[in-house]
């Protein structure tokens, strides 16, 4: 982006401000990548934001859609983007030209906390691309990687035609969320040895119970038992025959390895998958990440950065960021309050066996052991948790009450959305449900040779909520496009096990 290289350097007064803020940031113990700030005009900002922060991404209409939404909302003064930071080493953050100085300072403080989070939270380790041999630094050259992705797709678009490429990418994007969040933490699969000399496995004996006295045989190992053991053995043998041997959650990865793809298709799919994994941690830690950034901008601004004359402007801005509205969870608000809650609890020693067992409300209210561990605790939490575990472990009854949290749902009878409950268990359950698997259904590839016709069978692990059916059908179609053979998805519709199938021409749906 030559056009950016020219004019995006920070003006001097902001560079001074950056230096000062970076000093404060390091002073409070945040551990950051080097961070480069660039100044963008609003249309550049809308463009970069539409590309998800990477100005060099592959061509696709949906960036254009996002751009239109952002520009229109900017033009009509409905919302504007204050800041944008990308997980890269060095981290890159964009400031909006024409924002007031208070806003710019606020953004910088906020950004630095995000960068600390990128660098230290365990979820983001999967975006690491290795370690620098010399300095030991974490390599995250995603700007380059994304540019390479862009080049790959442009190359194929030039050769094969944008229309074809785009249709394939759209199909891949339909599958974008079918990845395995645990994948980066699983042991690397060892590829089965294919050497000719490998010995044939010994024919297995039916495992029976040991019998010392022959006359006891028919009592210890009765015929039924022998049969059941044989059956089990046969099942295991069949299991070993099956492909994949274990259900696979990384559907994109499975397709990449096993679908009969042409080279351009393989490369496009690989791009989509890599980017999906890159963005996954940001979805898994939305509440924590925003909470952490808000926590620190609030502390740094009020304690160190702000001039007294700026404090009202700052407070106004901060309040609008943390505002809540009915039926919509504000991750900034929930995150910052929960971090504060944790800090407060660990400062006052409100943890451990004694605390958990204390049921005296008055005692609990004024519980203060002056342990002063709050600061250490929140740093630990920011490194070791994601949204699900964060909520699971630290959301407390008191917190739910103090923060006026409620769960809501759709009431069919009244045809409207209603507040359902304010009890701790309901709220926590609801919240965890919506965060699980980043809000996506859990899908496994079960059989790549379904019906012995090399059809693909996937299974939806139903956890109470049905799939959106019209979309599910389109996804099955997209799967069929990639797999090139008929595809079936087993799910549950209105409490009935159902198969959705696309055979290349027609959709069908039947009960199982």
């Amino acid at each position: 982006m030559a056009q950016f290289a020219l004019k995006t350097a920070l003006p001097n007064y902001l560079r001074d401000e950056q230096k000062r803020i970076e000093g404060f940031v390091r002073g409070v113990g945040l551990d950051i990548f080097p961070t480069i700030f660039e100044m963008l005009s609003y249309d550049q900002m809308n463009e970069v934001a539409a590309y998800g922060g990477f100005p060099t991404r592959y061509p696709h209409w949906r960036w254009g859609m996002e751009y239109e939404r952002l520009s229109k909302s900017h033009e009509y003064g409905l919302s504007k983007i204050y800041e944008l930071v990308i997980n890269n080493n060095p981290s890159i953050a964009y400031l909006l030209e024409g924002n007031s100085l208070v806003d710019q300072k606020l953004v910088m403080a906020h950004v630095y906390a995000h960068v600390d989070f990128f660098k230290n939270n365990f979820c983001f380790k999967m975006t690491s691309q290795g370690r620098d041999q010399r300095t030991g630094d974490d390599i995250r050259k995603w700007i380059d990687t994304m540019a390479n992705h862009g080049a790959t797709i442009r190359k194929w678009a030039n050769r094969i035609g944008l229309e074809t490429i785009e249709q394939f990418i759209d199909a891949c994007l339909s599958l974008e969320n079918l990845i395995d969040p645990q994948k980066p933490f699983l042991p690397k699969e060892t590829s089965p040895s294919t050497s000719e000399e490998e010995e044939l496995p010994e024919p297995q004996e039916v495992p029976l119970l040991r019998v010392d006295r022959e006359y006891m045989e028919s009592f210890i190992n009765p015929a039924e038992f022998v049969d059941s053991q044989k059956k089990k053995l046969a099942e295991e043998a069949e299991q070993a025959q099956r492909f994949p041997t274990e259900p696979q959650r990384d559907v994109l990865g499975f397709l990449l390895d096993n679908a009969p793809l042409q080279r351009w298709e393989r490369e496009c799919l690989a791009v989509i998958r890599a980017e999906a994994y890159y963005f996954l941690p940001q979805m898994q830690t939305k509440i924590m990440n925003e909470g952490w950034a808000s926590y620190w901008h609030s502390r740094l601004m009020t304690e160190k950065i702000c001039d007294p004359s700026e404090i009202v402007d700052y407070a106004d801005r901060c309040a609008s960021v943390l505002a809540t509205s009915p039926g919509q969870l504000n991750p900034y608000k929930l995150g910052i309050e929960l971090f504060r809650h944790i800090e407060n609890r660990w400062n006052r020693g409100q943890f451990g066996k004694e605390w958990d067992e204390c049921e005296d409300w008055g005692l609990r209210r004024h519980w203060d052991r002056r342990t002063g561990l709050g600061r250490d605790k929140i740093f630990e939490v920011r490194a070791l948790y994601n949204d699900v575990t964060f909520i699971d472990e630290y959301l407390t009854e008191d917190f739910v009450f103090d923060q006026k949290m409620y769960s809501f749902g759709y009431n069919q009878r009244n045809d409207r959305w209603e507040i359902e409950s304010r009890t701790f268990d309901d709220v926590k359950n609801q919240l965890l449900t919506s965060l699980t698997n980043a809000g996506s259904p859990i899908i496994y590839v079960v059989d790549a040779n379904h019906g012995n016709r090399s059809e693909l069978l996937l299974e939806h692990t139903h956890q109470g909520a049905d799939l959106r059916l019209d979309w599910a059908k389109e996804v099955v179609k997209a799967l069929c496009r990639v797999w090139t053979r008929p595809v079936e998805l087993h799910t549950i519709v209105d409490e009935k096990p159902t198969a959705l199938r696309f055979d290349g021409k027609d959709h069908s749906q039947r009960s199982l």
């Binding site: 056009q3 249309d43 463009e47 934001a49 539409a50 998800g52 061509p59 960036w63 254009g64 859609m65 751009y67 239109e68 939404r69 229109k72 009509y76 409905l78 919302s79 983007i81 990308i86 995000h114 990128f118 229309e163 759209d170 994007l173 339909s174 969320n177 963005f279 990440n289 609008s320 960021v321 809540t324 509205s325 009915p326 039926g327 919509q328 969870l329 006026k404 409620y406 769960s407 809501f408 749902g409 759709y410 069919q412 409207r416 959305w417 209603e418 507040i419 609801q430 919506s434 809000g439 996506s440 259904p441 909520a465 049905d466 799939l467 959106r468 019209d470 599910a472 389109e474 996804v475």
Partner: protein
């Protein structure tokens, strides 16, 4: 400076307009086209294409939020799902947009979105309007029309010619002769006048939803035609077994019950045209909305007769929109098609639900008549 995003953006616009990637069009969310109608302000959603993914059904999953209220209380507005692809800390929230636009802008957008052609005037110029236009300068006139620059210039010219102008002390004093005044001419302008006659079937079979569809559709038609013609007039006719002319409010609110004689409305429309809007001077747009359940075959034949003899020759275009109702047989549109299979001034359209409104508007206005 051209941005890189422009390519992606124009691609998206082309998809929305249906020029490329037809298969994606079905995922465009239209949202509610009509927001508010009063005071020239209206809200318009922004086109959005969702890429289908495996997701949970809309109303399957609730959520968690913060704020006041008791269990069982309704939430204002409908909850929004989080954005699928989370970006690290960017914009605050993903709120639905409500953009306020003037009706003129709205009509532009409508025209652009639906690729509507501008309407060809029938070329009627019998009605003229007088308009004053400032076109020249003269030496006499009222002081209020004094042309300062020209006055100053002629004074300067005079002083230079006389040699009384001193660049070091540039004082310029206009005399009576230097004074210049703006002058105007009265021009006669042909005016394109247009009238829209809305007719709606309010018989028992037209339910609230059907009327709502008619209301939304006629609002958009109104908006478009108003943009095209200055001084447009609207007349409203409702009918069941008998027709009567009503005001706008009544038009949209009335629910009658009873049979349906479409011919009554057509006859009344023809009378109004004959009385008030001579076809040689007016662009006439009759729109008729019904569920297509006419009382008798005889009446349908009568309608065809009136259309042929009176309405069609007078109109720019006659539009018949048929809404889908659970009671109606929907026969009328078939009859019309049969009798006027290729009549260039009759456009029929079936509006089965709200989603179909956009397509129907395009059918009505897409030919620029």
């Amino acid at each position: 400076m051209s941005l890189r995003i422009d390519q992606d953006h124009s691609r998206f616009r082309n998809i929305v307009r249906g020029r490329i990637r037809e298969n994606l069009r079905k995922y465009i969310s239209q949202g509610e086209l009509l927001g508010r109608q009063g005071k020239d302000i209206v809200s318009i959603p922004i086109p959005h294409i969702d890429i289908p993914k495996l997701r949970f059904g809309d109303k399957q999953q609730g959520g968690v939020a913060q704020g006041d209220g008791d269990p069982g209380d309704a939430l204002s507005g409908s909850p929004q799902d989080g954005d699928g692809q989370g970006k690290a800390g960017d914009q605050p929230g993903d709120h639905p947009l409500e953009v306020e636009l003037t009706l003129d802008e709205l009509a532009d957008i409508l025209g652009e979105e639906l690729a509507l052609p501008n309407i060809e005037n029938k070329g009627k110029s019998a009605i003229v309007d007088k308009k004053d236009r400032y076109v020249g300068v003269r030496n006499v006139g009222p002081n209020s029309l004094r042309h300062f620059r020209r006055t100053f210039r002629s004074a300067l010219r005079r002083q230079i010619a006389l040699g009384t102008y001193d660049p070091k002390r540039p004082v310029i004093i206009p005399t009576r002769d230097d004074m210049r005044y703006k002058s105007w001419k009265t021009e006669e302008e042909p005016v394109a006048n247009a009238v829209i006659i809305y007719m709606m079937d309010v018989s028992g079979s037209m339910g609230d939803e059907q009327k709502e569809i008619v209301r939304i559709e006629s609002f958009w038609i109104d908006t478009w035609l108003r943009k095209q013609y200055k001084g447009i007039e609207t007349r409203f006719i409702i009918h069941d077994a008998a027709a009567r002319e009503v005001d706008r409010n009544t038009f949209f609110r009335t629910r009658e019950s009873g049979g349906t004689m479409i011919s009554s409305a057509y006859r009344l429309a023809a009378e109004i045209i004959e009385r008030d809007y001579p076809a040689s001077q007016w662009n006439i747009y009759p729109f008729h909305f019904s569920d297509g359940d006419n009382w008798s075959v005889d009446d349908t034949l009568l309608c065809v007769d009136i259309l042929k003899k009176l309405l069609l020759p007078a109109s720019n275009v006659f539009c018949y929109g048929q809404v889908d109702s659970p009671y109606g047989s929907g026969q009328f549109i078939k009859d019309l098609k049969e009798h006027f299979s290729d009549h260039e001034r009759l456009i029929t359209s079936e509006i089965n639900d709200r989603e179909a409104i956009v397509g129907s508007i395009r059918e009505f206005l897409g030919e620029g008549k």
